[in-house]
């Protein structure tokens, strides 16, 4: 029997080669009629547990279960005791840590104790006999189905759902209209009277805006930026803005000084740098993380989120990683007092791509 079940094909029957056997309804091309290839093996033989056969083991399992319940009780009481014993009113870091630690351990013990004990009880002590509950068919019998239909029909007649078409249709209409205020109100959360595309395309930088230190907002002289230096830059006046962070998110800039001969500049962007001082947007063109991991010897800029790398000597072109476009360069120069200023806004939108961005 077991052998047959393993090798299902042994029950297969080779179909008769005669064409179009009407009796079996098989097509002429059928070569082999497979029998049901998998026989129900039934239950494995019942195996008694050690707790069924050995009374000592059974006693031990009983002990384990109630000990776990005791542990749970101890944990619960311990959590309360820890709450009292470790006050956090002093605000001291160590006190807070001890409080959370011991309350947590107590609560963990209380819940784990119950869970482990319940499962061990069920597995080792409760009855272990295998049984079969047949799954009843999904389809009800015809009588039940007819009764259900009858109920629906009756409900329709009594409520007039099918008959009073106007009432029904207005109900459907009301249900459709009901969520509309929510949709309109949600839409109203978008900035009013502001075109998000225009907001994304422009930053605070403009002709003559001074480059200032982040976070102090003090202006930077070109002579302050020594070789190998990095300055984290915000536009002048940012700290006085009402929505400071909204503007900062777009306008952050990294200022670096390289040896002028190390820079490989395009002819039309030659005057965007000043004596080897270059300024680039700090917003990654991939998904907008701040790119500021500058290596002063390799002149690589690394984005910490997805490891995009930009080569500062070649207008921050992408040399590794998922970013697709170079970081936008801020054209800079110095004013009459020797402070670094922007020549204009960025000449392209900063940050990652968006739907309306050309190219």
């Amino acid at each position: 029997m077991a052998q047959d079940a393993k090798n299902g094909s042994s029950d297969a029957v080779v179909a008769a080669p005669s064409a179009g056997d009407v009796n079996t309804g098989l097509s002429a091309g059928t070569a082999v009629i497979p029998a049901d290839s998998f026989a129900n093996p039934g239950h494995p033989p019942h195996r008694a547990r050690v707790t069924d056969t050995d009374p000592k083991k059974e006693k031990r399992a009983v002990r384990t279960v109630y000990t776990l319940f005791y542990i749970s009780i101890v944990g619960s009481i311990g959590a309360i005791a820890a709450y009292v014993a470790f006050p956090i009113e002093s605000g001291d870091d160590v006190a807070i840590r001890l409080s959370t630690l011991f309350i947590g351990v107590g609560m963990a013990l209380s819940l784990f104790g119950i869970g482990l004990a319940a499962i061990h009880w069920g597995k080792a002590l409760m009855s272990d006999k295998e049984g079969v509950d047949e799954r009843h068919p999904v389809r009800g019998d015809d009588e039940t189905r007819l009764a259900a239909q009858e109920i629906f029909k009756q409900a329709n007649e009594e409520s007039g759902f099918g008959r009073r078409a106007l009432v029904r249709n207005t109900l459907i209409g009301a249900l459709i209209a009901f969520p509309l205020p929510g949709v309109v109100l949600l839409r109203g959360l978008a900035p009013q009277d502001q075109d998000p595309v225009a907001l994304l395309k422009h930053t605070m930088w403009d002709k003559g805006v001074r480059l200032t230190r982040d976070p102090s907002g003090t202006p930077i002289k070109a002579s302050d930026v020594t070789l190998g230096s990095v300055f984290h830059v915000i536009p002048e006046g940012l700290n006085d803005m009402e929505h400071k962070l909204d503007e900062k998110a777009k306008a952050i800039v990294l200022l670096m000084r390289l040896k002028p001969e190390d820079l490989i500049e395009d002819a039309d962007r030659k005057d965007w740098s000043y004596n080897g001082i270059v300024a680039y947007s700090k917003v990654c063109t991939h998904v907008g993380c701040p790119v500021a991991l500058y290596e002063q010897q390799t002149h690589h800029l690394l984005c910490p989120c997805h490891q995009s790398q930009f080569d500062v000597t070649k207008h921050c072109e992408v040399i590794f990683g998922p970013a697709k476009r170079p970081l936008p360069q801020l054209p800079i120069t110095v004013d009459s007092e020797g402070y670094l200023v922007a020549q204009s806004d960025f000449t392209e939108p900063v940050g990652p791509s968006f739907w309306e961005r050309v190219s």
Partner: protein, 267 residues
């Protein structure tokens, strides 16, 4: 199950099974303590960086230890950069943290046991500083760690955290380089690193971050180093990677083990 009763024979003195372990432990502790005592004795040294004798001593040390790569005139070779104008701070940092002399040419010079005493390091620094002016060794008033921790924290997050991690735990850079962790680094070395920009670290000169602001940053780092973690295990303060690794392997592992136990048949 057969239960065997153990014969109890008490061994004492040098025949005790733990005697060897105890002996080795005692030996290690004594040696370690003695070594620590010796190596600490030369840590504090008063050296006049301007004195000609100091510079001469430094030049001798330089010629025998550094000139192979940096050139006999310290003007650089194909193997190492010129040291003219790097200043005493740079030399004190590179030699004082054991980065120089390099163990091998690689992506980055790494911290290793110091090769020179503090006195020799200062002599080397005096020689390099005598070649051309450069950043000097900072004064003690900026290294006390009693500055404005909050301001230091803000400056650290703006200028340093992207490479060194917000908790100063360090992080990876490109092509095998890395930003080292900052806990356990001496205040003087933190200051010198900011002032000189060693290896691939950019320079943060006093026009960018003033001496007082550098003191604030050092104070913040020392505060981080000495404060306890309220939330329990820090997992190296490395952020989502370490935490994710922990929860996916240890946390999920525990859940899988529990599930296996719950569904397994009792024997």
């Amino acid at each position: 199950m057969i239960r065997s009763t153990k014969k109890k024979t008490k061994k004492t003195g040098r025949r005790h099974p733990m005697a060897t372990v105890a002996l080795v432990a005692i030996g290690l502790i004594v040696t370690g303590a003695a070594y620590a005592g010796f190596s600490n004795s030369s840590a504090i040294a008063e050296v006049d960086l301007q004195a000609q004798s100091t510079i001469d001593e430094g030049q001798k040390l330089f010629a025998s230890n550094c000139a192979t790569c940096h050139g006999i005139q310290a003007d650089g070779t194909d193997e190492g950069p010129s040291l003219i104008g790097v200043g005493a701070a740079s030399t004190h940092f590179q030699v004082g943290t054991g980065r120089m002399p390099l163990a091998f040419q690689g992506p980055q010079g790494m911290v290793k046991p110091k090769q020179f005493t503090e006195e020799q390091t200062l002599q080397l620094a005096a020689y390099v500083a005598s070649l051309a002016p450069g950043p000097g060794i900072p004064e003690a008033q900026y290294l006390d760690g009693d500055g404005d921790v909050a301001n230091g924290g803000e400056l650290f997050r703006v200028n340093c955290a992207m490479c060194h991690n917000v908790a100063g735990a360090g992080g990876a850079l490109t092509e095998g380089k890395w930003a080292p962790k900052l806990s356990g680094v001496a205040s003087v070395h933190i200051y010198e690193a900011m002032a000189t920009g060693p290896q691939n670290m950019p320079v943060f000169n006093n026009a960018n971050i003033s001496s007082d602001e550098k003191r604030d940053i050092i104070s913040y780092l020392k505060y981080l180093e000495n404060s306890t973690s309220v939330g329990g295990f820090k997992l190296g303060s490395l952020g989502p990677v370490a935490e994710g690794l922990f929860i996916w392997i240890i946390g999920l592992g525990a859940v899988v083990a529990l599930t296996v136990w719950v569904t397994a048949k009792s024997n």
